[in-house]
């Protein structure tokens, strides 16, 4: 009788250990999938890389790309940003309306507004007269950039990076080039 009882207790204990083992293994799997299931949001990096690529293609060693200008020294309206800068906007998502947006605004600093203290005006971000603009991709993403970022509910919006640099044309006219890069790709970067 006593032996039978002992066997029963051992059975219960082994079932208990088995249950604990399943719980621990399940938890470890859950922890790993929780951590590795959350994607890294690399859209900011991607946007910066895109800006580097575009700035490198629009200007080389501080001089604007000659293809930006037509023969009469005015900006070339037919400049194809995507082609000239070797950009590929296609993604693996089918029926995608466009995951990328790129815009480059050119401000001529030599033809700035007159009557304003030049130095103060130069330091203002709005300095210069906008003379040309190039854009490529899904224009709707630009509106996302205007909405404040950081809050949880805004994580699903596009990531935008805005940078500017200076460059000269062949006649040594100084231009401020403002590049805006916006990337949606929320499916791959945000959960």
């Amino acid at each position: 009788m006593r032996i039978k009882n002992k066997h029963g207790a051992e059975k219960i204990i082994s079932i208990y250990w088995f249950a604990i083992l399943i719980i621990i293994a399940g938890s470890v799997v859950a922890m790993v999938s929780l951590f590795y299931g959350m994607p890294y949001d690399v859209r900011e990096q991607e946007a910066n890389i895109m800006i580097n690529q575009v700035s490198n293609c629009l200007s080389e060693n501080g001089k604007l790309n000659q293809k930006l200008f037509s023969e009469d020294k005015t900006f070339n309206e037919n400049f194809n940003l995507k082609e000239e800068c070797s950009l590929i906007f296609e993604t693996e998502f089918e029926n995608s309306i466009g995951e990328y947006f790129l815009e480059a605004d050119f401000y001529n600093l030599n033809n700035g507004p007159k009557g304003v203290s030049q130095r103060d005006d130069f330091i203002k971000p709005s300095f210069g007269v906008k003379v040309f603009e190039l854009s490529e991709g899904n224009f709707n993403l630009k509106t996302d950039c205007k909405i404040a970022e950081g809050e949880k509910e805004y994580k699903r919006l596009s990531k935008c990076v805005d940078r500017e640099f200076y460059s000269l044309d062949s006649e040594n006219q100084v231009y401020r080039i403002n590049i805006l890069s916006a990337i949606r790709k929320t499916e791959k970067n945000v959960k």
Partner: protein, 104 residues
Amino acid sequence: MLNKRGQTSEAMTWVVATLIIIVLLGISLYAASLLSKLKIIDYGVEERTQDIVMEESLFSYFSVQDSAVKDKIFGTLEKMNNEEKFYADFNSKFQQIKFNLEEK
């Protein structure tokens, strides 16, 4: 009677041990979910040796002949540096490009 008490205390030990295991696993799961939210790569945190956008501006700064325009560009670049808009060290890059151009 004594045997029954012994059995009860043994069962209690197992119950408490199980609870401790479950609580520890719960804490670990919560920590894993918190850590997963910290998977953010900040582009600006790591200082780089290169910032193509900044370098373009520096090259154009050294190419400008007009000293007034030159001063203005430098003022803006310095302001951008103070606002930490560059990803590489502005001063060392400035010196490096200046040195390289003078060498030429």
